[in-house]
């Protein structure tokens, strides 16, 4: 219980830090970017929108900074993320609701498949040590981990999209289907999602295989595994319950570290495939200087990252009884 509270506290503090960054950054920047931008939008936007923007950007000088800060905190916590002005008057939260499922669907599925397959493959390779896979693996991993994901996306897009027309080159589904729960739409989504899925999958699977393989080899040499083998535990249970569960622990910890990289990669990949997820919206919002949308997108990405991190911590606590007592993994 102390462990859960501890992690929960960290979750709250880090979300607060993300909101605060959102508040502070425009006020910190040299040359007052907000003022320049306000001048640019003068006359192009309805007055209420301009006023809301003033508050968000810290231009409203009628209130002291600290009051502004608490106003800002309150509106963020209650989910009032403001209105986008490229899609005026659509609230930022509506755009998030629209694009978040695409990101979660693509990244979540590709990543989970990579984790599950990578882990199983790692266990298998460690068990049959010295096989051919063992020799190829490190080189393959080094290759895939050094290639920037978005560039791999560009290459695949060029080869399988433009050159051979095997897959569509942009968007999440075709223009000819109506979104909803119907076969044609689902097929179109799968078809459009395949290439980005492949890029995300390839980007993370080899790391999982190698990590799991190395941990498994270390674990298989541990006394408790040899002891379990000696006391007659059947092979399958020996591998999964005795060895793999322990070998998984460092892997779970490494998710927390890899998460930031994976989500960064996702933003770039969405841009390559013009995939209408959070990352794509963020990039476009920056290009069109839609600050409420930028802040909203950053906040949702940060919150999502932090929540996943929290979930990972909870899983770790379940897997490792020692962590529950220690209080924290990080």
């Amino acid at each position: 219980m102390r462990y859960v509270l501890n992690r929960l506290l960290f979750l709250v503090v880090s979300i607060w830090a993300a909101i605060t960054l959102n508040f502070i950054l425009p006020r910190l920047m040299p040359g007052n970017p907000a003022a320049i931008m306000m001048a640019k939008f003068q006359g192009r936007m309805p007055p209420q929108a301009l006023h809301a923007l003033e508050i968000e950007m810290g231009m409203a000088s009628d209130k002291p900074m600290i009051v502004q800060y608490f106003d800002y905190l309150r509106s963020m916590v209650t989910g009032h993320l403001g209105l986008s002005y490229t899609f005026y008057p659509t609230p930022v939260s509506a755009i998030i609701r629209q694009s978040l499922p695409w990101t979660i669907g693509l990244l979540g599925v590709a990543w989970l498949v990579a984790v599950v397959l990578g882990t199983l493959a790692g266990i298998w390779i460690a068990w049959r040590r010295g096989s051919k896979a063992d020799a190829i693996l490190p080189i393959g991993t080094m290759f895939f981990q050094s290639i920037p994901g978005f560039w791999l996306g560009l290459i695949l897009l060029y080869f399988a999209g433009f050159l051979h027309n095997w897959f569509p080159t942009a968007h999440a589904y075709g223009d000819d289907v109506t979104p909803g729960f119907n076969g044609r739409f689902i097929l179109s989504v799968l078809y459009h999602g395949f290439l980005p899925f492949l890029v995300v999958f390839l980007g993370s699977v080899s790391g999982w295989i190698v990590g799991m393989r190395n941990n498994m080899i270390m674990t298989l040499g541990e006394d408790y595994v040899v002891f379990a083998e000696a006391k007659g535990i059947p092979t399958r249970r020996l591998i999964f319950a005795y060895a793999a569960r322990n070998a998984l622990l460092p892997q779970v910890t490494s998710i927390a570290i890899a998460l930031s990289t994976i989500i960064g990669g996702q933003i770039l990949i969405e841009q390559v495939f013009s995939y209408p997820g959070i990352g794509y919206q963020l990039t476009n919002a920056v290009t069109s200087e839609d600050y409420p949308l930028i802040q909203g997108m950053f906040l949702i990405i940060a919150v999502a990252t932090l929540v996943i991190n929290f979930i990972v911590d909870m899983i770790y606590g379940r897997l490792d009884p020692r962590a529950r007592r220690r209080g924290a993994t990080s």
């Binding site: 040499g221 002891f227 379990a228 000696a230 059947p234 319950a241 009884p321 007592r325």
Partner: protein, 335 residues
């Protein structure tokens, strides 16, 4: 001969001419060479040697648990009459633990950190008696814990929640779970403090007498082995250099020069002065074993013969000795 009573007992462990080598990039290094050893039922045999002498390798070879580059190059191991190396892997899996089991050196490492004590004991029981119900296995687990004097409430504990002594008791409970004929104990108390060590040794003796199994007790602590075991085997550089009754370790009998050194290293509390005398020099590097008798560079009685020829085993008045000094016709010259 003092060890005569063993002749009446059935042997549970017979090691014949066993050699174990490690494959290194350039050569095969022998960690165990030409070992002959017999443990009889209900006997405690102590195996003593400095670290690196090959004790643990011998234990793992008996259990057929050698891993990686270690291979048995010759010899035979029989447990309860069965050649351990003639079993198929499936037969081995059920044979091990029913007939022979092992207590590992460090209990913290032998217990799985993410599983409860209960799971680890019940798993062992069910692996060998698949027809048992969970309840029956659980009842037996409770019984085993009581046998090693641990409250049954600790079935739900994880290893990190137990003290070092309790963990080692759990490992012993797992080792005797299937009432084996032979339990190999590899430095079972080395990681513990002296008080806990003492109480665990007492318990081992007590349980051994109640459950009637034989123990191959491995330790680098000569005094501890001399006290616990009825017979003692002394290992040096992969060879058993002497097997003797432990009563002979007190004064009056002649021993292998290495054994003598070990005896001298025990503080003699009965003497007027407490003298702690080690054996000069270091145990040899197994990759560059000295010629002849491997002990000769450290032996105060070494002769030219010791430098050149490896001594055969000679019967002594209380066992076996591998030393040129004990060649019957030349005995007189060296006394």
């Amino acid at each position: 001969m003092p060890h005569n009573h063993n002749a009446l007992r059935r042997p549970v462990l017979e090691i014949e001419d066993l050699s174990v080598g490690y494959e290194t990039p350039n050569s095969l290094v022998h960690a165990v060479s030409d070992v002959n050893l017999t443990v009889h039922e209900q006997e405690i045999l102590g195996l003593v040697g400095e670290s690196g002498s090959g004790k643990s390798t011998l234990a793992f070879a008996v259990m057929r648990l050698l891993k990686g580059d270690a291979v048995v190059t010759k010899g035979r191991v029989r447990v309860a009459g069965q050649d351990v190396y003639a079993l198929t892997p499936a037969e081995l899996r059920s044979f091990r633990w029913k007939k022979m089991s092992m207590v590992f050196q460090s209990a913290m490492n032998a217990l799985n950190p993410v599983m409860t004590v209960e799971t680890q004991i019940v798993d062992t029981l069910l692996a060998h008696q698949p027809d048992w119900s969970r309840e029956r296995a659980l009842a037996r687990a409770r019984e085993l814990l009581e046998l090693v004097r641990i409250d049954a409430k600790h079935l739900k504990s994880y290893p990190h929640e137990l003290s070092g002594g309790m963990r080692q008791r759990v490992v012993i409970a797992i080792a005797i779970a299937l009432q084996p004929d032979l339990v190999i104990m590899d430095e079972p108390t080395t990681a513990l403090d002296v008080v806990v060590q003492r109480s665990i040794l007492d318990e081992i003796r007590e349980i051994q007498q109640r459950e009637k199994f034989a123990i191959l007790f491995i330790s680098h602590d000569f005094s501890l082995v001399a006290e616990l075991a009825s017979r003692v085997a002394i290992m040096y550089a992969g060879r058993i250099v002497e097997v003797t009754d432990s009563e002979t370790l007190a004064d009056g009998y002649r021993h292998h020069p290495y054994t003598e050194g070990l005896i001298r290293a025990i503080p003699h509390l009965t003497a007027e002065q407490v003298v702690i005398e080690g054996i000069p020099g270091n145990p040899p590097n197994l990759m560059e074993l000295p010629s002849g008798c491997a002990f000769h560079p450290r032996c105060p009685y070494a002769t030219e013969e010791c430098r050149q020829a490896r001594p055969p085993q000679y019967p002594s008045e209380h066992g076996l000795i591998e030393c040129h000094l004990f060649k019957p016709q030349r005995e007189a010259q060296h006394v």
